[in-house]
Symmetry: C2
Subunit: 314 residues, 2 copies
């Protein structure tokens, strides 16, 4: 460790500002009320791998098919879980567009290595049918309360508090009661023009180091829960700083579907770790200070984007 | 902005701890002494794209061929700049190994999406010749001083101070005088067993969100400056949490060479922005608070891994 563990001092300082909850261990207030048996503390701390591999069935949930998109690319299938509690209009609109086949045959036309991949109808020529091309932004919401969060105890440089809601990394401002999804890798969000209310069809996926400066500038409305390796295989632009691809290097979108519209036998059974579970709390603690003997220094800190919420394909 | 800009309070607090330099604008102490004309402040702040596209020739430097590796994979060439000031033994050893053909025909055998790609001689069967299989770690150094840094004014959650040295994101502890390279995306580092001094041949590249908890646990000794899109195309493991690939899905290493050993006509002319330049200082400021009208909120904060040091292929 550096001899000046500044994050500890900053944590203590943040606690003075924000109350004792910030320095409490990670505990979801609803975990016990929901009838989940708390894990017994293990005899010795377990590694993240051990925690994930041994998490009980109750620590996992399956995706709701009505809340899940399948983005089929030549490289494979990408599975996106939507976030209707944070962005109900954006979640509903993309389902409407998907059901009309709006995205089928369009492309992922902007890919910047380490930043984002963006797709849709760049030419704005295609009819949106019953869907909307422009939506009022859902950049933050007051419909998600502090009690809905599994908060991290750690301070964050971009938001007063961060944690997880419904498996999604999110932030909360106690002063305003506003909650918003944050730009961690795999975030699924809506591109727009200069007006905050000008996006509705052009989605993007965060590929690289969390571009947190985009937080609250755009509507994040989901997360890629399977197939980030597919997203990473997309052609990038090497000649255009903005990342727009020449026509012949664009990445075709074969199809975007709502999972509920796919025959049940053809759906992927993907499970996501419940971010309110005791297993997830143990995982966060192990990410903060890794217990394996390999580690000679531990930071006693973790940021929300460094705790990737586990998923598994059954 | 959230109504509680906690980072500002934390920044002020950090300034009390660490001295006024932390809240000064980003200025490299040597920029003027080196004869570089300071940029005139632009009439209006420029976007990162505009800054990079218009940076004068003096803001760019070419790679030194003796300090550059070419990692050739079936998907393309990856170019790595070594960091001999931070890790002289690791930098020299991998050049010795490359010149003996040690890596040629081996593989990148561990790839974890969003984390790292690791390659070398997992079986430990190959003769290292004059190279070393195990080196004393160079996890931090006292050979790089505060004056060598272009510091960020922003506080960091993992280190007392962060900034850039020789184009590489790095940290510094004023209390000990220790400097170390940090785990941003594209970091090139040496894997090891449990002993900190057990690594010498198995390199890895950071693929995803900065795994800063690895800082000071391992020796970082370079950065991929070209070809991260190639690294992202590698096969991942979807079945092994640790990421080890089945034999048939391993990613072959065609060749690892020192650029100086390649005929000059076949070298790539890659330039890296000088992190001591006025252009880089302007870029960091624009990354902290983006001036484009698109942004409706700005964080007044940036972390070192969110300032990717620009490179260009001439």
């Amino acid at each position: 460790m550096p001899s000046t563990p500044i994050h500890l001092l900053r944590g203590a300082f943040a606690a003075l500002l924000c109350g004792a909850a910030l320095v409490n261990p990670l505990v979801h207030p609803m975990a016990h009320a929901q009838g989940q048996a708390p894990d017994q503390p293990p005899a010795s701390p377990r590694s993240p791998y051990e925690i994930i591999e041994n998490a009980p069935a109750s620590a996992w949930r399956s995706l709701a098919a009505q809340n899940t998109l399948y983005l089929d690319l030549p490289q494979g299938r990408v599975v996106i879980e939507l976030a209707p509690r944070f962005a109900p209009a954006h979640s509903a609109n993309i389902k409407t567009l998907a059901r009309e086949g709006f995205y089928d045959g369009l492309s992922i036309y902007r890919v910047v290595e380490g930043f984002v991949a963006q797709g849709g109808d760049q030419s704005k020529q295609r009819d949106t049918g019953a869907g909307q091309r422009q939506l009022k932004s859902e950049r933050f919401t007051t419909a998600v309360a502090a009690g809905d969060f599994t908060f991290l105890p750690d301070p964050d440089s971009y938001a007063p508090r961060t944690g997880f809601v419904d498996g999604l990394p999110a932030a909360f401002d106690p002063a305003t009661g506003e909650a918003w999804l944050i730009h961690c890798p795999a975030a699924f969000a809506m591109a727009r023009d200069d007006s905050p209310d000008s996006g509705g069809t052009e989605f993007y996926v965060v590929l690289g180091h969390a571009p947190r400066y985009l937080d609250r500038n755009v509507t994040v409305f989901g997360r890629v829960v399977h197939g980030m390796d597919v997203m990473q295989q997309l052609n990038r632009s090497r000649s255009d700083l903005y990342g727009t691809l020449a026509e012949e290097r664009r990445n075709p979108i074969l199809r975007l579907q709502v999972a509920a519209d796919v025959p049940a036998s053809e759906r992927l059974d993907i499970q996501v770790m419940d971010t309110g579970s005791a297993s997830f709390a143990e995982l966060v603690a192990a990410r903060r200070n890794r217990p394996e003997p390999w580690f000679v220094e531990t930071p006693d800190y973790v940021d929300a984007c460094a705790v990737s919420v586990p998923t598994r394909l059954q």
